[in-house]
Every structure is written in structure tokens, then in C-alpha cells.
Amino acid sequence: MIPQFELHRAADVQEAIALLTRFEDAACYAGGTELLQVMKMGFAAPAHLIDLKPIAELGGITSTDGELHIGAAVTHREIEHSPLVAEQLPSLVALEHHVANIRIRNVGTLGGNLCFAEPHSDPAALLVACDATVTLVGSGGSRTITVEELLLDAFVTAREDDEILTGVTIPAVEGRALAYRRFALTERPTVSIAVHASIEDGRLSSPRIVVGAVGATPLVCRSSATLDGLAVGEVRAAGDDVASGCAAEVEPMDVEIGDTYLRNLVAVLVRRALADLVDGRPT
């Protein structure tokens, strides 16, 4: 059972912000796959839900000069089925194909997923690897921060109470190579790895390995730097060291799974993701 609340439909972002400002005890609502669930479980009982779905500008997937823009209220399924995303960021399509289940993907939104800041989020790690940004609009104006900056802690974001996350932007990258691997024991991933790099003239630059689901927020591994400037053919050989480095960096928070094993999973998935990356699997 979902506790009682008032439902407010916002016609545009400004109205949504006004509603958020007006009501002390309000929450943004779009797909509800996370919010309604925690309300049922008694972990939250906001008196007002501000429905963002009617806001047209939160929808749509567009591309400008190779920069991909995904509206906050776009569902996982829309991303999964978007020809534009398939063309520009096939790894995200592949990732979305494995988020939860069809029903959650049909309803749950990308913006909602990020704002909920569940540590085991699938998209978060990949978006951090891509150095994606989010736009936050509040009564004080609009600002753009990276997804990495957005995610402060488990279930905690940099979004202010009166701010709306309006969209996600994945920057254009010349010669982008991207790979995503996940390993799940229950509904959400136990470990996820996103590897992102630019490959020009057969060499990697700006490599970024991100470990999701292990710590409270996606971790950008310092060990990624080892890959910088390597030729594609050298990546596999360097992979073991990089993988061990990433494994050493993570700070596991799951008490149910052993630290040693989690670090092993991180290393295995990093190796596999790097292999995907250089094999030219979907980027």
C-alpha cells in the first residue's frame, strides 16, 4: 500500500519548481518505480508528489554535433529502442536492455534513476565514464554539473530541494570506445564496469574506468591513467595490472559479499570490459 499524498501535475519546469518551493514535503515524481516502491516500504512518505511527466521539455532524445541529449523523463525503454542512441552510444542501449525488467524499463526514467542515487544503478557508472552532465533548474536559475558531481553518496545527490533535473548530456567524443559489463546476483548489479576512451590513430586517450555498484557512488579509477597513450594492441597486456589497480581502489560497502571476492569481480570485469573495448564491440 502506498501512503496517501496529493498529486500535482506540472505543466512546465517553472511550475514544477514553484510547486516544489511551495510545498515543504514534496517529491519529484516521474516513473515512480523507485519512489513509489520506497513509499510502499515505509521509507518515505512525501505529502505531495510533483508529476514531471507532463513537462514536454523533459522528454525526447536529441543530438547536436555528436552531443547526445536525453530528457530526464525519457524511459529506459525509450533509450533502449532509440535509433539515435543505438547509433551514437550502442553501449547504453545494451546496458538499458538489462536494467531490471521490461516493466520497470517501460516506466522508469533516466532522470529518476540518477536522482534516486541507488548505488547499484546501471546507467550511473556508464554516464560517469562518458563524463556526462546533467542540467539542474531551480528557482535560482539553471546549472550544469557532471553526473559524477551529482552523485554525492548512496541515495544523496547534489540536487537542491527546489531543483529539477531536466536532462542528461553525453558529450561528443572523437573516436569514442565504450564498453559496459555487469555481474548481478539479485535484481540490481553487484558489480558494474564502464570503460570509456577515445581511440585516435590506434591509441587510447582519456581512458576512464568506472566501477559501479561496489561503493556508494560510481568510482572513477585512478588506475585508468595507465592506459593513456597505449596502442589498442597493448591494452590486453596492460589489462591485468590495470584491473588489479581498479580492484585495489574500490571501497566495497556490501557486507553480504566478501571484500576479496568483490575485488576479484571488479578485476575480472575490468579485464573483460577492456577486451570488449579493443575488440570493437558496441560502443
Binding site: 502506498i2 496517501q4 498529486l7 531490471a100 516493466r103 517501460n106
Partner: protein, 168 residues
């Protein structure tokens, strides 16, 4: 008390208007307000798929879908699968009967609705596609084997007939 919300929707091809509470789920509306009890609720957490119904053709967990959000939508529940006039079973339902793709039957409406969405989206799925699509539906009795076979049967039969797969 929170204000109720007036919604208009189509349930199994029938237009309906009603007032719903903001926190009322679509499952509650179907089961308790419209007496369509074929839709079952089990985990109440969007995991098991038992409460699956179609909202404008998309499979959703009606246990965690606000009735208010069904305003203007076309809802199909298990009661709407068979042909409206003759009461003839839909192809998928017949395939489930032939394969005995159920035992206790509690998960069956959810599986049938998910499979309906699947065949609408992918009329000729591979076995792997059926398995992936139905991963979010749990059955404890059958071990899934007969369910997957029944969905493939229904798709094959539709392909043979050149029809849309829902009815014969």
C-alpha cells in the same frame, strides 16, 4: 484526505470514467473497483510480474503504477485477451492450454500479458528473445520450459497464418 482524481480510460476496449485516490494503484482499481480480479498481485515490488497489465500496449507492474497515470490510456488486462465477441481464446492462451504452461495459475495472467507485449513487439522471437523478455516474470511451478515453448508455438502459429498473433 487527499483529493480524488477523475480519470477516463479504456479497460479491455470499454471506456470507463471514475474517481481514484492519488495513491490508488492500477492493480487496486482493476481488482477492487472494476472487479477484474484476473490480475494478481504477489511480490508487490515490481519483481515477480504477476500483476502485469498493458498500458497503451506497454507491459507495466500494475502494483506500482498509479491509477491516476492511466488517465487517457488504453488498458488491457487478462480479461481482455480473449476475443470480445466469441469469447474465443487468444492464440497465446490456446498455446498455454495446449502446453499446460501453468500449474497453480497464479502467475499465468502476468505471463500472458508479458508475452502479448512481446509478440506485439517481436512477432517472431527467437527462444533467447522469449527468455530475455520474460526474465522479469516469475513462475514457481512450471520451471518455465512449457511457458517458453507455448510462446514460441503461438508465434509460429501466427507466422503460419500471417496474422497479428493475438487472435486467430
Amino acid at each position: 484526505m487527499s483529493r480524488s482524481i477523475s480519470i477516463g480510460l479504456e479497460v479491455n476496449r470499454r471506456p470507463i470514467r471514475l474517481d481514484v485516490a492519488p495513491n490508488e494503484t492500477l492493480a487496486q482499481t482493476l481488482r477492487e473497483r472494476l472487479s477484474l480480479r484476473g490480475t494478481k498481485v504477489s511480490c508487490d515490488a515490481q519483481v515477480c510480474g504477476t500483476c502485469t497489465v498493458l498500458v497503451d500496449g506497454r507491459a507495466v507492474s500494475s502494483c506500482t503504477f498509479l491509477a491516476a497515470d492511466a488517465d487517457g490510456a488504453r488498458i488491457t488486462s487478462i480479461e481482455g485477451l480473449a476475443e470480445p465477441d466469441a469469447g474465443r481464446l487468444a492464440r497465446l492462451q490456446r498455446a498455454f492450454v495446449e502446453r499446460a504452461a501453468f500449474q497453480c495459475g497464479y502467475c499465468t495472467p502476468g505471463f500472458l500479458m508479458s508475452a502479448t507485449a512481446l509478440l506485439a513487439e517481436i512477432p517472431n522471437p527467437t527462444r533467447e528473445q522469449v527468455i530475455e523478455y520474460l526474465e522479469g516474470n516469475i513462475c514457481r511451478c512450471t520451471g518455465y520450459d512449457a511457458i517458453v515453448a507455448a510462446v514460441l508455438d503461438a508465434a509460429d502459429e501466427a507466422a503460419d497464418d500471417g496474422s497479428d498473433g493475438r487472435t486467430a
